[in-house]
Symmetry: C2
Subunit: 488 residues, 2 copies
């Protein structure tokens, strides 16, 4: 007999934007992953680009959980910002109304995509903490108040500036050019923006105004995860200036290094090869995509590329994902039948041992891919190979062990990809229950019609058959019939 060899799981490696290399994942405390992901600025509907980032980090979190880590996932909501104010102005609405509409959309979309975030902190609920943080930066000499009442972070005081983005030349750092004049250096960035008429504001020791963009993430991450944590994530467009600035102000104030151990960034999402943008009119709202393709197909497609690479939307790609999903489902259903219907054969044949060996190989390939910076593309390829093994090699009624092991691989796959809950766990979509109800109602209506036409033999037969299925009919005078499902 060929020998069955069982293998250990690989340790997890992540590509750290800081340093731009693959590193073995070593958390500050064993078994604990604290992860902060930059969420939306709620001034418009969630689109496919957002979904890409959210699903990527959801899969990363799920994989850590699969590997036994305790994961805390914080994803913030930026609910005060120029874009929100501008949108409110252009629509003649209160900015809070804008925030409410798109926050609701965001939460609905997360639920559709089966993403559970632990904590969703919002900027406007943390103004006090932001003011305290800025005050401390001023007190320690890292920030200064400008004549306008705005407060800026003095980049020159933080020598490691530029390391995260790799932009080490100050010439490349120009940001917030519109307030150039009152800044000491063109690359200093705003911690607090002085109030302008018609804008929302909060009172601060240095005058009324509102927080700059970057400060919120430093404040809220430390509040909920502590002053050092394992993972900071977001879209790659956030590396500079957003994450560079977050890092500067946090390491300056906290005096810790590293503030964040691993920086992970998702690649761009394009549509038919082009960047999504308002001017091109090719922004795909997530709600429409979910309606068109379903959450599972979308998740499978979003995870069909490694999170750091560019991902292109096309009907073909989605059709491909849909076809893959169908194949995955069918394979799992076949396995359920094999496992559920037969007593395990007495003998493990050499033929089955060979099949088990190939099944275990896909299992290891899945974990190797996921452990190698969460390469969902390669992981999916391993699982599609498993589908082929199920279809081609696992003989029903003969190969029980191979089926059990293959099923286990699909369970792990689904734990991360989240696309097979229904076939694996028989999740009752409401349709299922409703289907039973609709079918019984239909039969009862047909039976009513038959009784009207005095076809009592068929009507009675129907009653008897339904009783056999655990459904009781109660006929009332006037032709009304009520039915009840006897619970077992």
């Amino acid at each position: 007999m060929q020998t069955l060899a069982w293998t250990e799981l690989p340790s997890i490696k992540v590509f750290n934007t800081l340093g731009r290399k693959l590193e073995t994942f070593t958390p500050f405390k064993p078994g604990l992953v604290r992860m902060y992901v930059c969420g939306p600025t709620v001034y418009d509907y969630t689109h496919l680009g957002h979904a890409r980032t959210y699903v990527a980090f959801d899969a990363i979190k799920r994989y850590f959980r699969l590997r036994g880590f305790n994961v805390i996932h914080v994803q913030n909501i930026t609910d005060i910002d120029d874009k929100i104010i501008n949108r409110a102005r252009s629509e003649g609405k209160d900015w809070r109304e804008i925030v409410d509409i798109y926050t609701k959309d965001y939460f609905e979309m997360l639920e559709k995509l089966k993403i559970k975030v632990d904590i969703h902190p919002r900027v406007t609920e943390h103004i006090n903490e932001i003011i305290e943080f800025i005050q401390e930066l001023i007190d320690k000499g890292y920030a200064y108040v400008a004549p306008s009442g705005s407060v800026y972070f003095e980049v020159d005081k933080y020598p490691d500036y530029g390391s995260l983005s790799g932009l080490k030349n100050p010439e490349e750092w120009r940001q917030e050019v519109e307030v150039l004049k009152e800044k000491k250096k063109p690359y200093d960035f705003a911690l607090w923006k002085a109030w302008k008429p018609g804008e929302p504001y909060w009172e601060a020791p240095w005058g009324r105004g509102r927080p700059g963009w970057h400060i919120e993430c430093s404040v809220m991450s430390s509040k909920y995860l502590g002053r050092q944590f394992e993972i900071h994530g977001g879209g790659q467009d956030l590396i500079f200036p957003h994450h560079e600035n977050e890092r500067a102000q946090s390491e300056a104030l906290f005096g810790v290094k590293p503030w964040v151990k691993y920086w992970l960034h998702t690649g761009y999402l394009t549509v038919h090869g082009e960047k999504m943008s308002k001017s091109l009119g090719n922004i795909i709202p997530l709600r429409e995509a979910v309606k068109k393709w379903g959450a599972e197909t979308l998740r499978l497609w979003l995870l069909s590329a490694h999170y750091r690479t560019q991902l292109d939307y096309s009907e073909d790609a989605l059709e491909q994902a849909r076809a893959n999903l169908r194949r995955l489902r069918m394979a799992v259903e076949d396995l359920r039948k094999i496992i559920g219907s037969v007593t395990p054969p007495a003998k493990l044949t050499d033929r089955e041992v060979k099949v088990i060996t190939t099944v275990e190989k896909t299992y290891m390939e899945f974990h190797n891919a996921m452990s190698n910076d969460f390469n969902t593309a390669k992981a999916l390829a391993a699982i599609m190979e498993l589908v082929r093994i199920v279809n081609r090699d696992i003989v029903p009624g003969e190969m029980y062990v191979a089926a059990v092991r293959a099923y286990r691989v699909f369970e792990d796959f689904n734990y991360v990809f989240g696309v097979l809950d229904d076939v694996l766990y028989g999740v009752v979509k409401l349709e299922h229950e409703k289907m039973v109800e609709d079918l019984v109602n239909l039969i009862v209506r047909v039976r009513g019609e038959l009784r009207k036409r005095k076809l009592y033999d068929i009507a009675d037969e129907i009653r008897a058959e339904l009783r056999r299925l655990g459904i009781q009919l109660y006929d009332y005078p006037g032709g009304k019939t009520v039915w009840r499902l006897e619970r077992t």
Copy 2:
């Protein structure tokens, strides 16, 4: 604000029967757990005592998987043995018939209890490997052929004999006394039993016969798990002589030490304070218990004590488990409603932070208990405390984060205990699927009858209604109708 502190998960400790102390679990290869559990001798129905052991090791396996280990679980079936032969004789049946009846019962019971074993090797399918193993023991001088044709292991050749059971005095080793005369020492044990008329036999180089009891586990574990593996489990009545003998012959032949790294044994199950036994007539067949209490209540009760302690069956204890299950279910349903129906409140209040802190405490208590030699009793206590927190402290519409974290704890709990699949995942029991199928079949039959009677209006109405429900009918010549549920 009170600070949220996230903690690492504890490392896993197991109580090793070998050495009788708690040890930090360190597998041979990181992340891999190979586990061999002694399964049934299939000569009678599975009873509650078996269920206790099977569910205990199922929970252990599930906990290892929750903590990210790759687990291979082998549980053997002893399908040739004195007890089987005697039962066949007393019932006037072929021994294979006895084996078939009780093997079927065993598999059905495992399925009911939601236990998935990877490999179920049977002794009679491994006779060749057993003969080879014995021959090697003879060749290496660890075993001898007696005049009868039986083969015995010479215990004196294995100096560490008695270490597992703690019985170091040869006076305590007397075993298989009925064949005392032909053994070199009274404590030598049979590897091969020479044939007696009327018994099943296989041909071996030293004559026809059948394997002794202990040899099978050494042979089959090494075949499927390798010559060293992490965990060997079984009921505590197996420590001596069964496991002691397994260990002697395996370490002697393989020349490895330790053959098995950790030995785990389950405590006894009593019924109303008394040992289960035929003479007392208090053996409770698992099938009856499952029918009476349901698999979930049974699992919860079986895991309500630490696996090494004695567990007593009583109606009160089971009623208690049933009540606990009800409370667990209600808590999870409440959480689902809280999480599903509200947008997370904008602010994490101090009150909620306090609640989150208590939720996290139960999470850590759960993991501390499970990590401390799989103490399911303490783990359950932590979860019942979580139920109280859900009922008493988590305010619907106000505390979203606390609800999400609590839900996550119930997920982990269920991953190990396996009693909340239905409320957590809305698992369709097969009845659901079958119900749809049965109902559609009934409607199709009724429609066939109506068409025969030329009542085409109702028949067509039925077809239209079914199509509306996503069910397509295909009528074939000769009156045959096939239906298909359109997948959405």
